[in-house]
């Protein structure tokens, strides 16, 4: 069947070069950016940045941001924004801490409950956007403040006046589910590698890096699942279609409203996952948790190739975008460069990415 098609191809159609095929990948910019940043730090940074300990050191914040960025990128491909992700981290962090500390629930109950609660808030966000037809930018901006404020008020209620809720570590430490959401994975493997001298150790013989922080595993797994869903399932096609042209998608039978509301719920759940991981890690939660993460997540998504106008982008791009982000934030401390250059660096990357994405979009749509 494909043979007969090939024979019949039009003589005006030249074979597509490998380069042209590559240009069609939305994550191309992110990969190029990653190489650029990598080269930059290989030249300027202290060698210790690229030891195992150094890599884990920048991959951990990258993973925490990346989990948010993957949710944000799916939502952005679906044609919407969520500026309340950062506040959502604080809000679901509060809910989670209250569930474990104040109510004393075991993780097996507290964690699903936190996800359900966050998804419900995401659904409210989405339903308002869909029902009102207002831009999600403005609706979720309202929620940025509402959720942050509620987190503050809620914390004070839960603690009797403090803006920090402590004691999470004490109550979850012994919970059998804790290792899935906190601490390091593969500690056995790392210990074995250390014994055989394959990774760096302290004088005592214990490995300098005791294991792989679980958030890195969550981050990688989420990136893979999101990429699979986007590219290989009907739901993925619906996400692209809803963001590309909601009216055309709806007329073609795509349940656009359900798709968009689900995406809002998903981003809220990503925020909840980050909240659970970081609250368990810190042992406490406070009202500043997730501060400005919404911007960082959107920046990582855009660096990853998502168009602000929707309908185009990739989850794997957001994965690389988050790693770039983590490398820049942490990497500067390994160089002699003043750390305050960080924001300049970031703004510059964002600008470059947007210009690049715009050029790609014109290429893909054949616009001139």
């Amino acid at each position: 069947m494909s043979d007969s098609v090939q024979i019949q191809t039009d003589e005006r159609i030249g074979a597509e070069s490998f380069g042209a095929k590559l240009m069609k990948r939305p994550e191309l910019g992110a990969v190029a950016g990653l190489v650029l940043v990598l080269v930059f730090f290989l030249i300027t940074a202290d060698r210790s940045m690229f030891t195992l300990a150094g890599v884990i050191n920048f991959m951990t914040p990258a993973a925490q941001l990346g989990i948010l960025a993957i949710g944000a990128s799916l939502l952005m491909i679906g044609g919407e924004f969520d500026l309340s992700i950062g506040s959502m981290v604080a809000f679901s962090g509060l809910f989670f801490a209250a569930a474990t500390v104040t109510m004393g629930l075991p993780l097996i109950v507290a964690i699903p409950l936190t996800f359900v609660f966050s998804a419900a808030v995401g659904a409210v966000n989405g339903a308002i956007v869909i029902r009102s037809g207002l831009p999600s930018f403005i609706v979720t901006l309202a929620f940025l403040f509402i959720l942050r404020g509620l987190s503050l008020v809620g914390l004070k209620l839960a603690t009797g006046g403090s803006t920090q809720l402590r004691g999470v570590r004490d109550v979850v430490e012994t919970d059998w589910l804790a290792p899935v959401f906190s601490g390091d994975a593969f500690t056995g493997v790392f210990a074995m590698l250390a014994r055989n001298g394959l990774i760096e150790t302290f004088k005592s013989g214990a490995p300098k890096v005791p294991g792989l922080p679980v958030e890195i595993l969550w981050f990688a797994a989420l990136a893979l699942v999101a990429t699979y869903v986007l590219l290989r399932t009907p739901a993925g096609n619906w996400i692209f279609a809803s963001g590309g042209d909601a009216n055309a998608a709806s007329n073609s039978g795509v349940p656009v409203k359900a798709v968009k509301i689900s995406l809002f719920m998903l981003t809220a759940c990503c925020a909840a996952l980050v909240a659970i991981i970081t609250v368990m890690d810190a042992g406490s939660t406070d009202a500043r948790r997730g501060f400005q993460k919404e911007f960082e997540a959107i920046i990582a998504s855009v660096i990853g190739g998502c168009l602000l106008t929707g309908g185009y982008g990739s989850a794997i791009g957001a994965f690389f975008g988050a790693i770039i982000f983590g490398m820049v934030v942490i990497g500067l401390t390994y160089t002699g460069i003043d750390q305050d250059w960080f924001q300049v660096f970031l703004g510059g990357m964002l600008l470059l990415a947007v210009l690049f994405n715009n050029a790609i979009r014109k290429r893909v749509t054949g616009e001139r």
């Binding site: 098609v5 039009d10 069609k24 096609n237 055309a248 998608a249 007329n251 349940p255 309908g311």
Partner: protein, 259 residues
């Protein structure tokens, strides 16, 4: 006469204080091509959108295979076997031809969690259907945005033909097409009709309508001016009706047969 597949009774549609449709009755039976004619703004697109689940009529009744039915979304209409080529084509420029072709109706393989979009099958079907319409695609993953207007229109038509199990609605499908593509579309309409599908064909062009139509309904300012069978009406009379009667008669002499 066979029962109509879909019967629209006295359909009214208001947008705020704009009366787009003011009581339109229309039906289509299996294996016929019913042409809907009318000037710009007559309400043709609005009418077929009520037929394909996009708009809910303000009043009026829709009978599908004899039973009253109310589509709450385009998806409902599609599941009932109605496929539409909208005037704006409902295509997404950033997405590939295949992804557009199957948008909302993706073929899957596997079960449960392993259920996935069968892209290979989708690509093959899409290339094949496009070839039937006389277009060789460069690649099924080519973005629709890079296609010409005519090619885009052809993808939309091929898609509707592929999914239009019972009723196929075409809203001015030939407006961006060249001579060869137009005759391809007209012969596709004839082929689909022969398979027992009911075709609703909207056109500005009386010659195109006359070439494939079995019945002709003229819409003017949201109302039907009447329905005629093939042979009961000449193209000149249809032309006159479309323009609302008199005006065209005076034009006729100066323009000759340019229209």
């Amino acid at each position: 006469m066979t029962h109509p597949i879909i019967h629209m009774q006295d359909i009214k549609k208001h947008f705020g204080n704009v009366i787009a449709l003011n009581g339109v009755t229309f039906d289509v039976t299996a294996g016929e091509c019913h042409c809907l004619l009318g000037d710009n703004g007559a309400g043709k697109s609005t009418f077929i959108k009520t037929m394909s689940g996009v708009h809910k009529p303000t009043s009026g009744e829709i009978l599908f295979e004899g039973k009253p039915l109310s589509f709450s979304s385009p998806r409902d209409a599609m599941e009932a076997g109605i496929a539409t080529v909208f005037q704006d084509l409902a295509m997404i420029p950033l997405m590939s031809v295949t992804r557009n072709f199957f948008m909302g109706r993706e073929p899957t393989k596997g079960r449960g969690l392993a259920k996935r979009f069968d892209l290979n099958a989708a690509n093959d079907i899409c290339m094949e259907e496009m070839r039937k319409m006389g277009i060789n695609l460069r690649a099924p993953d080519q973005a629709v945005g890079t296609l010409s207007g005519g090619e885009r229109q052809t993808v939309a038509i091929a898609r509707a033909v592929y999914f239009g199990a019972k009723v196929l609605i075409l809203d001015e499908p030939t407006s961006a097409l060249g001579v060869r593509q137009t005759s391809n579309v007209l012969s596709t309409i004839a082929r689909v009709r022969a398979q027992g599908v009911g075709v609703v064909f909207i056109s500005h062009n009386v010659r195109h309508a006359m070439a494939v139509g079995d019945r002709f309904t003229v819409l003017n300012r949201g109302q039907t001016l009447g329905t005629a069978r093939k042979g009961e009406i000449t193209s000149a009379e249809l032309q006159d009706l479309m323009a609302g009667g008199q005006e065209l008669a005076t034009l006729d002499t100066s323009l000759g047969d340019t229209i």
